[in-house]
């Protein structure tokens, strides 16, 4: 049986981490929480839940946390990894949808897209940022995607071994597409659901993140 591991990067997520772990647990064989320099009780809460917790001493950003998470998952024998945010806006049930194309060998990397199916109440500003991100992803990497800023992805062993992340912050979401292009990784999108809360919206990206992301990606390109 294949080993599916969930990697959850978390920075100051004491309000949601326990609920996220409990909802994800039935869907995977192992959960790895990357506590990215949190100043609150995120690490202690995750440990109390009995999952693998890797503590970054400093807050290095989403990209660095994902990089560490993929590395650890591989070392622990993961066949498939699903990465998802710790702010509770993703649905754990979507992990099965993410894993299906990987387990069937149809692709190496799966992006969960919030925009493939209707029904997700996504704030207008988020839609706009994502659309700009999609256009930039196409312009910089020649890849058309409906959700360049997705917070849930799946990887098989080939993708995990091939991808070499360099961006340590939020721009990692777009960097995955650069790696897809460079490493000839087979990829596809699957529809996922999302629930925005006041909490998750306060943790997300803003306009200045976008400008910084663009500058960093242009340099990385």
């Amino acid at each position: 049986m294949s080993k599916v591991v969930a990697v959850i990067p978390a920075f100051n997520e004491q309000a949601t981490i326990q609920e996220v772990i409990r909802s994800v647990r039935p869907m995977v064989q192992e959960i790895i929480v990357i506590n990215d320099g949190s100043l609150d009780a995120t690490s202690a809460i995750a440990r109390a839940e009995g999952v693998v917790v890797i503590d970054h001493r400093l807050n290095c950003g989403l990209g660095a946390a994902l990089s560490t998470g993929l590395h650890v998952a591989r070392r622990r024998g993961a066949d498939f990894v699903v990465t998802l945010d710790a702010d509770g806006q993703m649905f754990a049930e979507d992990i099965a949808r993410i894993c299906a194309p990987l387990e069937e060998g149809r692709c190496d990397l799966v992006i969960g897209s919030r925009f493939l199916e209707g029904g997700n109440a996504i704030p207008k500003r988020r839609r706009l940022y994502n659309r700009i991100g999609n256009i930039l992803t196409w312009a910089l990497f020649g890849i058309q995607t409906s959700d360049s800023q997705s917070g849930i992805r799946g990887f098989n062993a080939h993708a995990m071994d091939s991808i070499g992340l360099r961006c340590s912050r939020m721009e990692v979401s777009s960097e995955f597409f650069l790696e897809i292009q460079r490493r000839n990784i087979r990829w596809q999108e699957v529809p996922v659901r999302i629930q925005y809360t006041a909490y998750s919206l306060s943790k997300g990206q803003n306009f200045f993140h976008g400008v910084r992301t663009l500058a960093r990606l242009a340099m990385r390109r």
């Binding site: 990357i34 999952v51 890797i54 001493r57 290095c60 961006c167």
Partner: protein, 122 residues
């Protein structure tokens, strides 16, 4: 005249110190050339400020001071961008180090827990 007496020695010191530092750090010929060009041009323009007016009218800017202002903006933008790249590289290296340290620390703790007979992940 006072400005020239103050500025030229300062530029001279910057030039010499820069060249010596570039030689010590084994910088490329291009990097040394850019350093010499920027500070050498500054010295020449301080000695002969009328050059800026001539060049400005040739390129259609108007006043020489405007030309200097525009060039300064371009140079400062290039400096900021190179600093951004430098900081970004530093950020990447620190992140890698923090990640490696976290993994090593976890594996050490797991080994210790196993030796004590505890399950490593609980």
């Amino acid at each position: 005249m006072i400005f020239k007496l103050i500025a030229l020695p300062i530029i001279g010191v910057i030039l010499i110190a820069g060249v010596r530092r570039a030689r010590r750090l084994d910088r490329s010929i291009l990097a040394r050339g850019i350093w010499l060009l920027v500070w050498g041009s500054a010295a020449v323009l301080i000695l002969y400020p009328e050059i800026t007016t001539r060049v400005a009218s040739w390129v259609g800017i108007g006043r020489g001071s405007d030309l200097v202002f525009y060039i300064a903006i371009i140079v400062l933008t290039a400096v900021v961008l190179s600093l951004l790249v430098w900081v970004d590289n530093l950020d990447e290296r620190i992140s890698k180090l923090v990640g490696q340290h976290a993994i090593e620390e976890y594996e050490r703790t797991s080994r210790d827990a196993t030796r004590r007979g505890h399950h490593p992940d609980v």
